[in-house]
């Protein structure tokens, strides 16, 4: 029987206060692809070694206990683990109301596109959709045939789970396997939730460069806001809400890995040059309290000002256009 591995190696305060030098998430390390797109086997010892080299003994302890055959991670176990982890992560999306937040932004955005000469139909593509919570939520909320919702993810096991869930939910949407760095799915608006922090250094630039090449007219990305309080809040949230060691580990590391608003703005501005970008203010208005989430919006040049007007009072949550 598979037993959920228990974390080891680091005390809770160390996990929070002394983040390892190389911040990694376990779920990023368990799935690899060959250059031809097929799934590559993953050696458990290599992943453990990778965690140790990045100074993350907690992650190394978790991976070391995963089932393997002749040293290779059991792919069936990894798939089920990924689905279970994303099922847990959905709690975060539900409690932070990612679906409703995205809807609040998409309504004025699509209205702006309509007003500025881009009539429906629209296709909204969620990049790195996981098990597709946001896409399913949006499809359930907006049933007009003018808007199509599509979710794409690199991991076929998650795409399969998303398709099954959509069928059970009875919602009209589509899920495909695709890479965020070479988007093949035509899109009017690219969206994502909790994905940008997975792309570090040059990968973040590649992510926005793919936006530039896509035919999209806009993008809306939601992710954790980097702040000193974020890892503590994340620990509290994941400790009380999540059961799997992998989810707890990755949840805390996500908060530690969150990009600052300058990093996101700069990368988007430099690499997605067709777009005007705006990013949400880092603190709650009139208070020093950090916001939990960052929203990064990009619109084709010239559409930023009309969008701000369409957003109404919600526009106050954003820094000026870049």
């Amino acid at each position: 029987m598979f037993v959920e591995p228990r974390p080891g190696g680091q005390a809770v305060w160390q996990r929070l206060w002394v983040p390892p030098p190389g911040l990694i998430e376990i779920t990023d390390l368990l799935f690899e692809r060959n250059p031809d797109g097929t799934r590559a086997p993953v050696r458990r010892a290599s992943v453990v070694q990778h965690c140790v080299e990045h100074g993350d003994r907690w992650a190394a302890g978790i991976v070391a206990e995963m089932p393997s055959t002749d040293g290779w991670l059991d792919p069936e176990y990894v798939d089920r683990l990924m689905v279970a982890v994303h099922c847990e992560i959905q709690r975060l999306s539900e409690e932070f109301r990612h679906g409703a937040r995205m809807a609040e932004l998409l309504v004025p955005l699509l209205a702006t596109l309509g007003r500025c000469g881009q009539p429906p139909p629209y296709r909204v593509v969620d990049v790195g959709c996981g098990t597709g919570y946001v896409v399913r939520w949006l499809s359930d909320w907006c049933t007009t045939p003018d808007v199509e919702f599509v979710g794409v993810d690199l991991n076929p096991a998650l795409v399969d789970a998303a398709r099954n869930l959509a069928a059970r939910d009875g919602v009209r949407c589509r899920f495909e396997v695709a890479d965020a760095f070479s988007l093949t799915e035509p899109a009017t608006v690219l969206i994502s939730t909790g994905v940008m922090h997975h792309f570090r250094g040059p990968d973040l630039d590649r992510f926005f460069a793919a936006h530039e090449r896509s035919g999209a007219a806009a993008f809306v990305h939601l992710d954790f806001q980097a702040s000193r309080l974020a890892p503590i809040g994340s620990w509290l949230f994941h400790h009380t809400r999540m059961r799997l060691a992998v989810t707890r580990h990755d949840g805390i590391r996500s908060a530690q890995r969150a990009h600052g608003t300058d990093v996101l703005s700069e990368s988007a501005t430099n690499n997605a040059k067709r777009f005007e970008t705006m990013i949400s203010r880092p603190s709650v208005r009139f208070t020093p309290l950090p916001c939990v989430l960052t929203v990064l919006i990009g619109t084709l040049s010239g559409l930023g000002q009309p969008l701000l007007e369409e957003l109404g009072t919600a526009a106050r949550r954003f820094n000026p256009l870049r």
């Binding site: 959920e4 089920r80 683990l81």
Partner: protein, 178 residues
């Protein structure tokens, strides 16, 4: 023993059991509409709590019957204190639940993240402190025994069941494990 106090304690503990059932069900299905799933889970929690609750009540009655008038008075005061402390916790939960029914996305987020999160984390401590406050500093052995029979399952039951669920989560994961 005052039957009204017994009934109020019973309602409070049953509510807590329903919430345990609800929490144990969370994070195990990725379906969009979970209302029925959660209703069933809460009802199951409340129902499962009835047997231990009946056992503790029977033990309490036995202790009071054997101890006489003085012990009965001590039990009544203990139950009043339990209701005061447990009621305050239940009140907070009710306020957060009311906030969750509002339209504002932000108010609902604050309710679930800032109130429900810490309350869930603190629950074991709340159970221990509530029972300690109820039994008082110098309880008779009978009351102390009843207090222990409330604290031990009150703190451990959810943890044990949660661990069991965690072990099986990956085994059957397809997005809607029950």
């Amino acid at each position: 023993m005052n039957p009204r106090l017994v009934a109020t304690v019973w309602v409070l503990v049953t509510l807590d059991c329903a919430l345990i059932g609800y929490r144990l069900a969370m994070g195990r299905t990725a379906r969009l509409d979970k209302r029925r799933y959660h209703q069933i889970a809460s009802a199951r929690g409340a129902l499962l709590g009835q047997a231990p609750l009946a056992a503790v009540t029977a033990l309490g009655v036995l202790v009071v019957v054997r101890g006489g008038e003085e012990v009965a008075t001590e039990f009544n005061s203990a139950m009043s204190r339990f209701i005061a402390a447990g009621g305050a916790y239940a009140g907070l939960i009710l306020v957060a639940s009311a906030m969750c029914s509002l339209r504002s996305v932000r108010v609902r987020t604050v309710a679930s993240v800032v109130i429900f999160g810490p309350l869930t984390l603190l629950r074991p401590a709340v159970v221990i402190l509530t029972v300690a406050f109820a039994v008082g500093r110098h309880p008779t052995p009978g009351l102390a025994l009843v207090g222990l029979t409330v604290v031990i399952p009150g703190v451990c039951l959810e943890m044990v069941l949660d661990r069991r669920i965690a072990r099986r989560l990956v085994l059957h994961a397809d997005g809607h494990t029950h």
